[in-house]
Amino acid sequence: MRLKMRGAAQMQETAMAVTEHPDNAVVIDPEEAGRLRAHKLERIGRWALPMLIMALAILAWDRICVWNEIPRYILPRPGEVVATLFQDSAILFAALGVTLKITFLSLGLAVLGGVGLSILFTQSKWMEMSFFPFAVVLQVTPIVAIFPLINIYVNDQTAKLLLCAWIVAFFPILSNTTLGLNSVDRNLLDLFKLNGATRWQTLRLLKLPAAMPYFLGGLKIAGGLSLIGAVVAEFVAGSAGQSSGLASRIIEAGYRLNAPRLFAALILISFTGIVIFLVLTWISNQLLKGWHESALKRDH
């Protein structure tokens, strides 16, 4: 008798846990149908509208060039920019490769440094109190102002750029991951303590997974920042050295009034930034899929 009752209750709970499928053959009232339609339109609009605006803007750009007879060294027509992108692809993509190398290396180092330091901080409150302010100082000082010093002390061009991009990118990872590691559920910490967990077990099984959403948030910011860091560093270093990243190409094109190439390089940089952001967002969603609010699809 008792077991039967338990069985029934379990089934009831089972029913609660089953996820709802929106495409089930159920009767849909006009309100729901309207909502469904709006939802579909919204999904198309999310892509179509920005595309449309973009197309209109490019068209307007082209028309303005033609109607006002603007010379190509001031504002090239969009078609010409695209043509340049193809014509100069050898130079431009080689330069992009250099910039990407700096970007990803510095992002990698930012992850290592940021996560490493935040783990160090979470092991000892004193450590955090002592060193966190200096990380803030490093972050708030404009990198352009620090660069001349780096230029004096570091000889290797790649190392210079890396250091610059790293300084810009590591802070969001450090501060976010530190916040995450400190935001672990107190009760879970007690549970680990109660079960005699070692420091390492607590870190690996509890703190690191709990900090994951925070870390990934930091990583998304750092991804964009490391690209900015790489380009800015090259800008500052470019006048002094012989680097050949995208920034140097932009400066060079600027000196030569080669506006089409300037635009082409610019498009490549922003495209790269978008790709980095999308990739990191995708990685983040994959890792948090199923458990974190940020990666859940909403039904309504």
Partner: protein, 283 residues
């Protein structure tokens, strides 16, 4: 169900009725001046289902944390009897399910064993059995957010019991659940306990819950937290839904309710007393 074999194994190690622990003149004050517990004396027997019942602020949860060793008493002694208590001998169930949201049901229940170094394969039979016991077979791979509140609490209970602890501490585990789920979980907890007879200390502020579940109810009073009076519930186990509707149950609930009422008044008396007669009542 594979329940009987297990309960025999467990019963061999335990001697119900023997004292498990004494709280001797235990007091706990916090640095901010709160006196959470004053002069608490309490004996817990092996196999007891003991409820700590009282208004909020009476130090129930503090008492539980002291017993768990998560906190140390300001004065007094927690005196364990019998074989020394190891890391796996105390299970703890919190007010919230407190599950790791990224981990599956299996991984959550595995955790206490894993922290003792048990591999997934070695822990699997124990985890599976405990999940069956709480009625969650088939949900091993679900993550907590796919479960209802009641099911999450079942996972939490399974995790608390998976190491076969001699003492299970429960801190208002069902307080956040709706009444139907709560009754069901009371019932299921009781049937697991009836089979194994581990010791339970159950913190609650529900008179009904304490009467339904426990053989001893310790009513506590607040400010400062202290033991007000102890009641024993003589009704035999196993108890099922028919107990909930019996006249005995009604009478016991009324009596417990009265004592709890007195304990709440005792709060005001004590407060009045300190205000009138003591200099540190005025801040």
């Amino acid at each position: 169900m594979t329940v009987d074999k297990q309960s025999q194994k467990a019963a061999g190690e335990m001697r119900p009725g023997q004292p498990l622990l004494y709280l001797r003149s235990v007091a706990k004050s916090f640095a901010n001046g709160t006196e959470a517990l004053r002069n608490v004396n309490l004996m817990v027997n092996q196999g007891d289902f003991l409820s700590l019942l009282g208004p909020s602020g009476c130090g129930k949860s503090t008492a539980l944390r002291l017993i768990a060793g998560l906190s140390t008493p300001t004065s007094g002694l927690i005196d364990w009897r019998g074989p020394a208590m190891g890391k796996t001998d105390i299970g703890f169930v919190f007010q919230e399910p407190t599950l790791m949201p990224w981990a599956s049901v299996f991984d959550n229940v595995w955790l206490p064993l894993r922290l003792q170094g048990a591999s997934r394969a070695r822990a699997a039979p124990k985890v599976a059995e405990m999940l069956e016991r709480v009625g969650l077979t088939g949900f091993e791979n679900s993550v907590p957010r796919e479960l209802s509140g009641g099911m999450k609490m079942r996972v939490s209970i399974a995790r608390g019991l998976v190491t076969r602890p001699r003492l299970l501490l429960m801190d208002e585990p069902f307080a956040a659940l709706d009444e139907i789920t709560r009754f069901q979980l009371n019932h299921d907890l009781l049937s697991v306990w009836e089979q194994e007879r581990f010791t339970v200390i159950f913190v609650t502020h529900s008179v009904f819950e304490s009467v339904f579940l426990s053989n001893r109810i310790v009513v506590m009073a607040a400010r400062p937290g202290r033991v007000y009076r102890e009641l024993s519930v003589e009704a035999p186990y196993p108890r099922d839904e028919s107990f909930r509707t019996s006249p005995d149950y009604g009478a016991l609930c009324r009596k417990t309710s009265d004592v709890l009422g007195e304990a709440m008044h005792a709060v005001e008396d004590a407060r009045g007393g300190t205000d009138a007669g003591n200099s540190h009542g005025g801040h």
